[in-house]
């Protein structure tokens, strides 16, 4: 990345995550009224794709991932009819969400889906990607924790997802760990093996403050879809903040079709007042990015830390050391319990 390429006139499809990834930061407590307010404002600002669901996607309502205020269907029924231009999308993690729930999403007006697997387990997604295509949905293969697979390995996984029918393959930096060169190498490797018509996407987290820089690096290498979240509302230190990204794109001449000032107003007037805590790089979220830990673990680790008298940072570092991946939220309390026992903070009656 010695010299910035001229990206003037490049078209990029932005996909807002605030009403899905942002559910993590709100402990799944966003009302349908808030959903409608944010989604209509995003639609009005020209954002073409808006993800709406439980933070963990289809099937997410659970003790493991928390229960949202409403079912996914209730959220979609409130939001979908209000959209003038934007399409609504959802997330499906095989092993949690199923084809039954995907069918329901389609019936309720959802037209695009991120089918997400860990970056080495793409072969758990063939049923779901094929089913999304059969329903006529825009289907994305979403390779999570992408820093844990090397560029060649990640490209092989992306190729598998393409073979199942994915029209876009995403490099998903779930831990906010990647630096621009990590992104560049992975986009290049994917571009080298995917069909020319298959798009490449990047989904960033801002745990090291690299959300914008990583997204721009991805675009330079040929990515044409970028996930971001208005006001940065998302897990960990949040996703790539949408309004900042759009400002940078405007300066660089990248064509997103989004209205910067409307997004700024939405951020300042609606999103910031919605936040339960300021979503930013702080001690815990910086630990995620530094140690390469799944961003969604943040609030769970804070809670377990308080419950068992341990610093959240110690728990997060241990989870990183044990190579826990997305979906293993149950192991946060388990790890905290084991650490508390070792430190003599907790006596196990059963032992």
């Amino acid at each position: 990345m010695s010299e910035l390429k001229n990206l003037k006139g490049r078209r990029v499809l932005v996909h807002d995550m605030a009403l899905r990834d942002g559910m993590h930061a709100k402990r799944e407590q966003i009302s349908t009224e808030q959903m409608v307010k944010v989604a209509t404002a995003l639609d009005d600002a020209g954002v073409p794709l808006i993800q709406v669901s439980h933070g963990a996607g289809l099937g997410g309502n659970s003790l493991q991932h928390g229960f949202a205020m409403h079912s996914n269907e209730e959220y979609w029924d409130a939001v979908v009819p209000k959209m003038k231009r934007a399409k609504i999308s959802c997330l499906l993690i095989p092993g949690l969400g199923t084809m039954k729930e995907l069918h329901s999403a389609y019936d309720h007006g959802v037209r695009s889906v991120h089918v997400a697997t860990h970056c080495t387990e793409a072969d758990t997604s063939p049923q779901h990607i094929a089913y999304a295509r059969k329903l006529g949905m825009d289907a994305t293969g979403f390779l999570m924790m992408a820093h844990l697979n090397d560029p060649k390995g990640l490209a092989e996984q992306g190729k598998l997802m393409e073979s199942y029918g994915a029209q876009t393959v995403y490099i998903t930096d779930s831990a906010g760990y990647m630096l621009p060169n990590d992104v560049i190498e992975r986009v290049r490797a994917l571009r080298a093996v995917l069909k020319p018509e298959t798009e490449i996407g990047f989904h960033g987290h801002h745990n090291l403050g690299m959300g914008i820089a990583n997204s721009i690096a991805a675009i330079e290498e040929g990515a044409s879809r970028i996930d971001a979240s208005v006001g940065g509302l998302g897990a960990g230190a949040g996703n790539t903040p949408l309004e900042v990204f759009i400002a940078v794109c405007d300066r660089m001449g990248i064509d997103t079709g989004c209205d910067l000032f409307k997004l700024m107003d939405l951020t300042q007037d609606v999103i910031f007042p919605m936040m339960d805590h300021i979503v930013r790089v702080d001690r815990s979220s910086l630990t995620l990015g530094f140690a390469g830990v799944y961003s969604t673990f943040l609030l769970h680790a804070d809670r377990a830390g308080k419950k068992y008298g341990l610093p959240a940072r110690d728990i997060l570092v241990e989870l990183g050391r044990k190579k826990m991946i997305g979906g293993q939220e149950d192991m946060i309390e388990d790890t905290a319990l084991t650490m508390a026992k070792e430190r003599g903070l907790f006596k196990d009656k059963a032992a």
């Binding site: 493991q64 092993g95 949690l96 860990h118 387990e121 049923q127 009656k349």
Partner: protein, 305 residues
């Protein structure tokens, strides 16, 4: 002592591990391995371990069933072909132990309901899934103390221990397991989550079981029931261990388990493989004991049209 002769269908991870388990059994004798690929490594391994093999699927086994006295067959293929396999073998009076998520027969978790299946003289029993075998005993340990409105289980298995069949059909795995959490575990509603972790060295199978009780949990009785159930499972899976819990949080009861395998075919991290094959072997042993004692007559079922 006389042993009941067995056939195994599907020479993958599960089928191969079963050979080891059955060879150690005092009442079971594995004699046939059925595959569909002549170049299969699994069939070669089975031959080296002294089993007869066919690469012609179940049809290749049928002509030998009566001559070789096969009375129990284990199906370790996929949900999609299980029904056909089961119909053909049931027609010859062979009892099916189903290790696919097909679940056309009664769902069996040995320490919870094996005795009732044997009493009912079933001709097809289903072993649900590795996640089901690892977690349903714990759901039942709580539900037998007091009513459970909702149970949720999270199974995490190592990437190396999960074969291509399960990967490509993950939804069947989730549906069958969720259903069994209620039907066998005793919860009114249930949910199953599965996570495949690629860490290297591979992590040992982990399972978390959450139960929401209708009333305040009776902590002492639940703790005692959970510890008793762990001992029951340890009789056939010695590496079944309660790592943390039960943890009580309002009406939520959480148990954090680990399952280490015996290391027969795959290394000990693949406890998911062992708990499935060990449960299937234990189930077959119970039936074999009944057959040998003359209490259970296998009967040929008419092949379904």
């Amino acid at each position: 002592m006389t042993k009941i002769k067995c056939a195994i269908i599907g020479p993958g991870n599960i089928g191969t591990d079963l050979i080891y388990k059955l060879k150690r059994s005092p009442v079971l004798d594995p004699v046939w391995m059925v595959g569909i690929d002549p170049t299969s490594e699994g069939l070669k391994r089975a031959r080296e371990m002294g089993l007869k093999t066919t690469d012609q699927g179940v049809d290749g086994l049928l002509p030998h069933v009566l001559a070789d006295g096969v009375q129990i067959a284990f199906d370790a293929t996929s949900a999609y072909v299980h029904k056909a396999n089961s119909d053909k073998l049931n027609a010859l009076g062979v009892l099916m132990v189903d290790l696919t998520p097909a679940a056309i027969g009664g769902l069996c978790v040995p320490p919870v309901n094996l005795a009732s299946h044997a009493k009912a003289q079933a001709m097809n029993v289903n072993m649900i899934s590795c996640a089901g075998q690892a977690t349903i005993p714990m759901v039942n340990a709580v539900a037998r103390v007091q009513s459970v409105g909702y149970a949720e289980i999270i199974a995490t298995v190592s990437s190396k221990s999960i074969g291509p069949g399960t990967r490509a059909n993950l939804d069947e795995f989730t549906y069958t397991t969720s259903n069994a959490v209620c039907a066998v575990g005793g919860a009114r509603t249930g949910k199953a989550l599965v996570i495949i972790n690629p860490a290297d060295p591979p992590m040992i199978m982990r399972n978390t079981i959450y139960c929401l009780t209708d009333d305040e949990p009776d902590q002492e009785r639940i703790r005692a029931s959970v510890l008793d159930m762990v001992k029951e499972v340890q009789k056939y899976v010695p590496g079944y261990r309660l790592v943390n819990g039960p943890v009580f949080d309002g009406k939520k009861v959480a148990c954090f388990m680990e399952v280490a395998g015996l290391g027969d075919y795959l290394p000990t991290y693949a406890g998911n493989l062992d708990i499935m094959t060990a449960a299937a072997a234990r189930t077959a042993e119970m039936f074999a004991t009944e057959i040998l004692a003359g209490r259970y007559q296998l009967k040929a079922l008419k092949e379904a049209a």
